[in-house]
Assembly symmetry: C2
Homo-oligomer: 270 residues x 2
């Protein structure tokens, strides 16, 4: 009953997901959020833009490495990645978002019909990749326990602009027992390629977040008594830049519906 | 007798260099190699290319992070950097190389006359930035002791191509006493933004290097008995890509003649 990344990319339903933990179910595909799945494997955010916008995106990632640590960039028109042999970026993300001039126009589970020859795809580190390390350090994951997507929030912290791209930083939030906050910081600080140490601990108002119960993306999580909100930079940030900067076209993953890679999460521990 | 990065950028001669260690000599400028100088401050490689080639360069750095860790990228036409307030990238590198179609056409100490409005400049981490940390760990620096530039070699290891850019990896080499090699690895591994851990220890033939006494750039160093050659990825690699890929125009630093930043080298310790 081992689960491979290829199995998980292939699992389509919750029932399939469990079946996919055997190698026999490679062809089924998963369409739900991926938090708590693919234990031990890194997950990635996706943003694909026309070649004309690729420099802006790549420069934006270089100037904003906390929310946008780049793991791989395809060649123009490429649909494969060094992160997962045999994967097809047009269909192996559980759910996509398709953007025109900054507006969400479709949210398919297969983006093949929307893909263009001039697209360059960026795979960006995801904080789900350090959740296994948190669990091993006995830091509980409330959203996983509660069977939910992680909550994500648009902050009032502006990213450093790059060319035509600008926008606010997005963060993911995990409730952490107060006496384990230092552990959560130490564990995640060692994984900068998947967002690294938190950007903030405590008062959400410091990031311009009004109501933790009303996330901009994902699901609200329920805190336990003594829990403190801890915020990590999030790879949905490029989507916030798409909304703010309105490139003519982009395809991204849907928040929390990540591309599961073949790369062990430990490969990103420094 | 303190020396600031602005003093060192301003020092023009060896005599000035010592004078520059006082704040009174800010306007003189240095034109020699910078190894062993600017203790405690990071140094950087430079490559500036026309905007049309900037994506190729930035993608090349993303795909080859060991030799090309990016510290800053200017906007098109920009001549300043976040790494040193008030510095002018057109004249504050001790010595430049000007390239046309992959050929070296000039090696001025001031590149202002060559600079173009369409240039994008990349500042890339330099291994001189970890030499202070090596010294603090009692790892001797033979080239500094011997008053020489560090030796650098073109290897037969090909970088991962990016767009129109391709070329071999360049390495710097330091002779390290055999019993201190582990220390040198441990110290530098913690500084990935300035090339991090060595790419090779020992036999130069493994990198296609024939003769350590005949470096491709910089000066040969003399080993002490029991020394082992240790090789680090080098920020001259983009220049090797310029030579191999022949962009119409580029300006780089001269190997070993680095841009001295205001950033403490400890800022790049993870």
């Amino acid at each position: 009953m081992t689960s491979t990344p290829a199995d998980l990319r292939a699992a389509r339903t919750p029932a399939d997901l469990h079946a996919a933990r055997t190698p026999a179910d490679l062809r089924a595909t998963h369409t739900g959020p991926t938090s708590g799945l693919a234990d031990g494997y890194a997950q990635a955010n996706l943003i694909a833009v026309p070649r004309d916008w690729a420099y802006d995106v790549l420069l934006f990632t270089q100037r904003n490495p906390k929310p946008c640590p780049v793991l791989d960039v395809t060649d123009e028109g490429g649909t494969t990645t060094t992160l997962a042999a045999g994967a097809d970026l047009r269909r192996d993300v559980p759910r996509y978002r398709v953007w025109e001039h900054g507006e969400l126009v479709d949210e398919p589970t297969d983006a093949t019909a929307h893909w263009r020859e001039d697209l360059v795809a960026f795979l960006i580190g995801c904080s789900f990749s350090f959740e296994t390390a948190l669990k091993r350090a006995d830091v509980p994951l409330r959203h996983v326990e509660q069977g939910r997507n992680v909550p994500m929030y648009v902050t009032d912290v502006q990213c450093r602009p790059a060319g035509r791209l600008h926008g606010p930083m997005v963060v993911s939030m995990r409730y952490v027992p107060e006496d384990l906050v230092d552990t959560a910081i130490a564990v995640t600080a060692r994984m900068p390629a998947v967002h690294g140490a938190p950007v903030h601990v405590g008062d959400p108002a410091a990031l311009g977040i009004r109501d933790l119960a009303a996330p901009d993306f994902g699901d609200a999580a329920e805190p336990h008594p003594g829990d403190v909100p801890v915020f990590w930079a999030c790879g949905v940030t490029p989507q916030a830049a798409v909304m703010a900067s309105k490139p003519p076209f982009a395809i991204t993953h849907a928040p929390g519906y990540m591309f599961v890679t073949d790369v062990p999460d430990t490969a990103y521990v420094v």
